[in-house]
């Protein structure tokens, strides 16, 4: 009876498969994070939207869930919102530039709570998205989409 022997092709295929599996496991278990990361903190963070039409002044509500990206990464729950009118620069007849309120456009300030791994200048969401101060990102609730800057974050004070 002919004995079964591994040939070089068998060894190479098995080696490649093992390497892929090991790399996948290693990647899943050791997501690199900044060295000063503190894990699993209850935090609140603040978003300031770009200008949106005033018709949307009631479109973001406290209690709604917030998401980002095409894969719908969870970003936490909206705690509170406030709305301010946009200001636009106007060149006055004497040549000076003065900012005037334009009530046709608004800016939302949105406070969100979530559990995150925090660092000095940002935090990692549950889906390991790193959000840092000054980040401009596209967010959405179930019915409303907007672009906003991350302007503040801090551990939640219960």
């Amino acid at each position: 009876m002919k004995s079964k022997k591994f040939n070089i092709v068998d060894v190479l295929i098995i080696t490649v498969i093992l390497l892929v599996v090991i790399a996948g496991i290693f990647r899943a278990l050791s997501f690199d994070k900044l060295p000063d990361t503190v894990k699993n903190q209850n935090i609140t963070y603040t978003l300031k939207t770009s200008t949106v039409d005033a018709i949307f002044k009631d479109s973001v509500k406290a209690g709604e869930q917030l998401f980002m990206g095409d894969d719908g990464s969870s970003c936490g729950k909206i705690l509170k919102t406030s709305v301010s009118y946009n200001k636009k620069d106007v060149v006055m007849p004497d040549g000076t530039i003065v900012a005037h309120i334009d009530t046709s456009e608004i800016i939302y300030t949105i406070t969100v709570e979530t559990i995150a791994d925090i660092t000095k200048n940002g935090f990692y969401t549950a889906d390991n998205n790193f959000i840092y101060l000054g980040n401009t990102l596209d967010f959405y609730t179930e019915t409303f989409s907007f672009t906003a800057d991350v302007v503040d974050f801090s551990p939640k004070n219960d």
Binding site: D10, V52, S59, F67, I101, T103, E142, T143
Partner: protein, 165 residues
């Protein structure tokens, strides 16, 4: 190895086993993707309003309720329930009052198209065909006139249902 009949006896070796395992894994993922994305999907009826800005007033009456509205890529957006129009305005600075005011744009109208659509729910968003149905999102309906932009200004959803085959 040849047997008494002169035919080759087939044995599974390690490569065969690995190939079969890989084939099973690929089949499993394909099955999962197909059933999750095509045969089992969460749907809901969504009522939403599209605002089309500053079109020629003469075209405001060309859209009729009861018609189906399609996106420019050919996918169905929804069925038109209502159409209304108002004269278009633009925010302009009034130097006499020192304030921004809404100025009327002559011969220009903003039209509001109210639709119902059977939307799929994916990643906590509504989709009518390939169009995202979300307030403050631009959409591209195929209309019998040109327009600057069309934006969704209102979205309200009914109860969702799970469709399975």
């Amino acid at each position: 190895m040849n047997n008494a009949n002169g035919t080759t006896k087939k044995h599974f070796n390690i490569i065969d086993v690995i190939i079969i395992l890989l084939a099973i894994a690929v089949a499993f993922f394909a099955f999962n993707i197909i059933f999750a994305d095509f045969f089992s999907k969460e749907t809901t009826t969504v009522n939403f309003v599209i605002k089309i800005n500053e079109i020629d007033s003469a075209y405001a009456s060309t859209i009729k309720s009861g018609e189906a509205l399609y996106a420019t890529n050919g996918s169905l957006i929804g069925k038109i329930k209502d159409v209304s129009s108002v004269q278009a305005t633009v925010s302009a600075f009034n130097y006499e009052t020192g304030r921004f005011t809404k100025a009327l744009l002559p011969d220009r109208a903003n039209i509001y198209i109210t639709l119902d659509a059977e939307c799929t729910i994916k990643n906590n968003r509504f989709f009518a065909g390939s169009s995202v149905i979300s307030e403050n999102t631009n959409i591209s309906p195929a209309l019998p006139f040109s327009y600057k932009n069309a934006v969704i200004v209102s979205v309200s959803a009914g109860a969702s249902t799970e469709e399975s085959l």
